[in-house]
Symmetry: C2
Subunit: 439 residues, 2 copies
């Protein structure tokens, strides 16, 4: 790896080195099988192979171009070189709340050098203040990079680490915690923290970005600023996700950690509260609570840290043609529980009944949720639901399938006793069950 060609290796590096002066940031033209790509050469980071060149196109997207034997490359312009000197850290202001910002990676945890388009992690406090100078009026920020991974690579053991890190920050008497996180699995993590961090004294807000901050439509700055504002001052002490309310760049919505889902691949307002109204709207300094049944901020509260998760739990979506043998496989592999994502009010085809019955007989807990996503399970209306309950399947009300999966992983992290596990599964711990479904 060389400085001027950060992250490139192997045959790709050799190709790039053919031009002795080529550097990250230069404008290049890549020709391959008649296709032409032009843009600035980007550095490569984690997971980099030796097969691709990454180029930022004029439309703002980065693409990876695979290098083949007939790929040609020419430099057609000199790019500005990456250079970034953060301004000096502002002095801590007395009387301002302290907010801990923990980074796990994802788009929001990066910043872009505007001259080169290069993306780099930016989570020192001084970097953050330079990107969002308004922060220094709101809070004294402490920053820490816990992980630096894309959120699709987040695993249950990361949830445990993260929960412990938040608990440490709380022990240090911070007034709020903000977690930068990729959006892909953010709602799984928010559910996990909701169960792992009980009796919170302060808000814990996960924040992400759907567009990296080098694109004109980025939501990174607004979301981060509003999340820090809310962490510093909001009266609610729960685990929440803070993301754009709509396509405008005006407000951030705080969703309850167990009742939220990423519902669009690319829109800035991808996150929606499901079967629940959101907790609050944040517009700069203004924090409007949208419901009043929330846990109150109270620095005297003593956090209960329960960070353990059991991985031998699966989520299985039913569909016509579903092979019931899959359920037998989970039983054979020693899984402790299954969340079924059934149809409608909580149904699966009757040819699954023997496998489900066997799973229950072997000591697995089988819970039912709905692939409809919205609405509530009701297994008393049709014969299928009645039969499934008879077999031992547990209806999980209006809990999201993803939240139900995470909860069952958490439940078996707390106990191996079946009765206690069932009791915990049905106990409303973090408002994962709504008393009334908002439709």
């Amino acid at each position: 790896m060389t400085e001027r060609l950060t992250g490139y290796k192997g045959k790709v590096l050799r190709l790039l080195e053919e031009d002795e002066k080529l550097e990250i940031g230069d404008i290049i033209r890549v020709t391959r099988n008649g296709e032409i790509f032009e843009g600035s050469l980007m550095p490569r980071y984690e997971l980099a192979d030796d097969e691709h060149i990454v180029v930022k196109l004029k439309n703002g997207y980065n693409i990876g171009i695979r290098i083949t034997s007939n790929t040609k490359l020419e430099k057609i312009g000199v790019g500005a070189k990456p250079a970034f000197t953060p301004p000096p850290l502002p002095k801590e202001k007395q009387g301002l709340p302290i907010v801990s910002i923990i980074s796990t990676g994802g788009t929001i945890a990066s910043r872009v050098d505007y001259r080169t388009g290069a993306v780099r992690p930016a989570l020192s406090a001084s970097d953050l203040y330079s990107v969002v100078p308004e922060l220094s009026d709101t809070a004294n920020v402490r920053t820490e990079i816990l992980f630096s991974i894309l959120s699709e690579n987040i695993h249950p053991f990361h949830w445990s680490e993260l929960a412990k890190k938040v608990a440490e920050a709380i022990d240090d008497n911070v007034n709020g915690v903000v977690i930068c996180h990729g959006t892909d699995t953010m709602a799984y993590t928010s559910a996990a923290l909701s169960f792992a961090l009980q009796n919170l004294p302060i808000p814990v807000i996960l924040v992400g970005s759907q567009r990296s901050s080098d694109r004109p439509s980025s939501d990174a700055t607004l979301n981060l600023m509003n999340a820090v504002n809310a962490a510093a001052k909001a009266p609610v002490a729960e685990v929440m996700i803070g993301m754009h309310e709509d396509m405008q760049d005006s407000a951030t919505i705080l969703h309850r950690g167990t009742k939220v889902r990423k519902c669009h691949t690319s829109r800035r307002d991808a996150f929606k509260s499901i079967n629940s109204t959101p907790l609050a709207r944040v517009t700069g300094e203004k924090i409007s609570m949208l419901r009043d049944d929330y846990s109150k901020r109270d620095m005297k509260k003593k956090i209960l840290l329960k960070p353990d998760f059991e991985e031998k739990v699966a989520l299985t979506k039913f569909y016509p043609g579903f092979d019931p043998e899959i359920i037998n496989w989970y039983v054979k592999k020693g899984f402790r529980g299954l969340i079924l994502e059934g149809t409608g009010l909580g149904h699966v085809r009757n040819n699954l009944f023997p496998s489900v019955k066997n799973a229950v007989a072997q000591g697995l807990i089988v819970g039912m949720t709905s692939q409809c996503i919205w609405g509530r399970i009701n297994m008393n209306v049709y014969d299928t639901g009645v039969d499934l309950q008879e077999i031992g399947v547990i209806p999980l009300g209006d809990m999201l399938p993803e939240t139900a999966l995470v909860k069952m992983m958490w439940v078996f992290g707390q106990t191996k006793d079946l009765d206690e596990a069932k009791r915990l599964l049905l106990l409303n711990i973090a408002e994962e069950f709504s008393s009334r479904t908002i439709s």
Copy 2:
């Protein structure tokens, strides 16, 4: 089984028979472990066991009450007895369009005797006319009961049977086809018919009901009437789903068969067009087309019937903690293809890469969709997507995961050749890919 206690058997029947005069429809009180249930005794139909009494509560819901040794039962009121004599069939009116109504089961295919609350299949033409007399002004209706099953029990072989039955009706020169279907898997069936019935000359409309017609809020009548109207007269010749537009009892929306999903467990407007605007709004006689890029009705068109589906195709939803061995299991079991329901723009954790690579090497086709549901896959933005494409995963644009599953089953029903299968998978056959995602 006795007439006065239709469907009951075994120990439940013996308990009911203790009162010599107790009949279906009577008001009873059931006491079990301190719980009391009151309502009218319902008959039992398919799948009935000998363990439950079904009672219609005052709130309109039917519940199944399991009979235990300490369950007590008393008759507290005499119900009206079931009796229903349909009026004579109206004469076929010359000049009216002919609509074929094919029933597969589900809530809509039942009618209720209003005096007893008993649900019974009602799909003779005369029954239908008696329930919805307006039908005789709109169309000459031909009815047929193809299946009588809850839609969670629909399997790919039912799709084939149904497709053939629709093709037969079309050969008989009907002007439109209406299919009564349970709502649970209706969107899977609509996708299946969209691929199996190509070059349609007339509309094919699946219609269902979220509330049985014995409940004041039932949507059965409006949906059926509007579906028959549209089948008779709408200018569009595609496979569609016709369900309530909103919570009002005013309009039915026609959704394109490949772009629709059941998005609520119980609401009447549960069905939503995804990444697409619906095709039409039907309010009685008035049919308003909502887009103009549809296949036109033309009785001269010759239908292409392609009814075969391959069951060895699976849909797998990714989540944190997902065990990659599941993918190996599908390979070992001889599956031909997998649809991954990944996160965000089309991602899974990097520990799945070896299993996915192996699946592709073993000749499976692996397609990527998003659990976000809304939006479009883009596997060129992040390393994970680039790497997965490199391994051989095929991005499936804005196709719904459920539609992608059904399409891959259909594709392998047409060909065993891998290249041809990939070509068909990516060919836009029934508008399953939108040229532009409506967000």
